[in-house]
Amino acid sequence: MKTEQYIDNLIRREKQMEPNPFLSTRVMATIEKSQQQEVRKVPVWQAVVLAASIAAVAFLGVTIGNSYVDNASPEMVMNINDSQIENLGYYNFADYE
């Protein structure tokens, strides 16, 4: 057999291959799936707005935190001396007898 005939023979056999009968269904399913994914996909502007909101809240928190000024007078201090808060001497009868 000549080379050309061998080539034609191979091409004829390959041309006899048939695609899966459900190929079109498979393609339609892929297209529908990609369309659903597109619908579900969050638009870019929404993601940007969300990121900007989070950044604004964080900035606001830091600003409010920094704006706090400690106005407490030096006399006003917490008294942690228990014996002054409740002078146990009052209950010492010996002092009042």
């Binding site: 050309e4 191979l10 390959e14 041309k15 291959m17 695609p19 190929l23 079109s24 393609v27 339609m28």
Partner: protein, 177 residues
């Protein structure tokens, strides 16, 4: 329904029209892809990708050429991209084809010889320069007239004729040495 009507329906959102269009052209696309990839499974995958791409690109179809010409262009480009991406896998596939084909009436030796010859022919087709291979596959697998091949490849009929002649000579050279 004509291609233009189907395309009009598809653009107005009718998916069943796309299915009809696909069923009309899927065999042609599949056969062309087989010419490039030589495997049923790969050809089915590439055909699927082609139709998904066609669906997504409908808005870019201006109607300047026939739909079938546009479709063949996408088919050829995506088949070549697939081959370039999967060179290593294709080598393994061709080796598998030689050693794992079911034996028929022929003796194992004859079968091995046939497989080896098929492998050499496929390799020779695959090693043709890109334009020669495109013209050869569209001509031999799809039996497209030179005029159609010329419009798919955006070239003249004379150039297609030359490409086909060179492809034929190259194949003869590669397979006789």
């Amino acid at each position: 329904m004509s291609d233009e009507q189907l395309i009009h329906e598809i653009l107005s959102g009718d998916n069943s029209a796309f299915k009809a269009l696909m069923e009309k052209y899927q065999l042609q696309v599949f056969r062309t892809v087989v010419g490039f990839v030589h495997s049923k499974e790969d050809a089915e995958d590439v055909t699927q990708d082609i139709f998904v791409k066609v669906y997504q690109s409908f808005t870019s179809f201006k109607g300047e050429s026939e739909f079938s010409t546009w479709l063949y262009r996408i088919t050829v480009n995506m088949s070549i991209n697939f081959i370039n991406r999967n060179r290593k896998n294709r080598l393994l596939q061709s080796l598998e084809d030689i050693f794992h084909k079911p034996s028929g009436e022929k003796t194992p030796m004859e079968h091995l010889e046939d497989s080896e010859r098929d492998h050499r022919i496929r390799k020779a087709i695959d090693s043709l320069p890109e334009k020669q291979r495109m013209a050869f596959i569209l001509s031999k697998y799809e039996e497209l007239p030179q005029k159609t091949i010329a419009s798919v490849m955006n070239t003249s009929e004379g150039a297609v004729e030359q490409l086909l002649q060179r492809a034929k000579n190259n194949l003869q050279k590669k397979l006789t040495t």
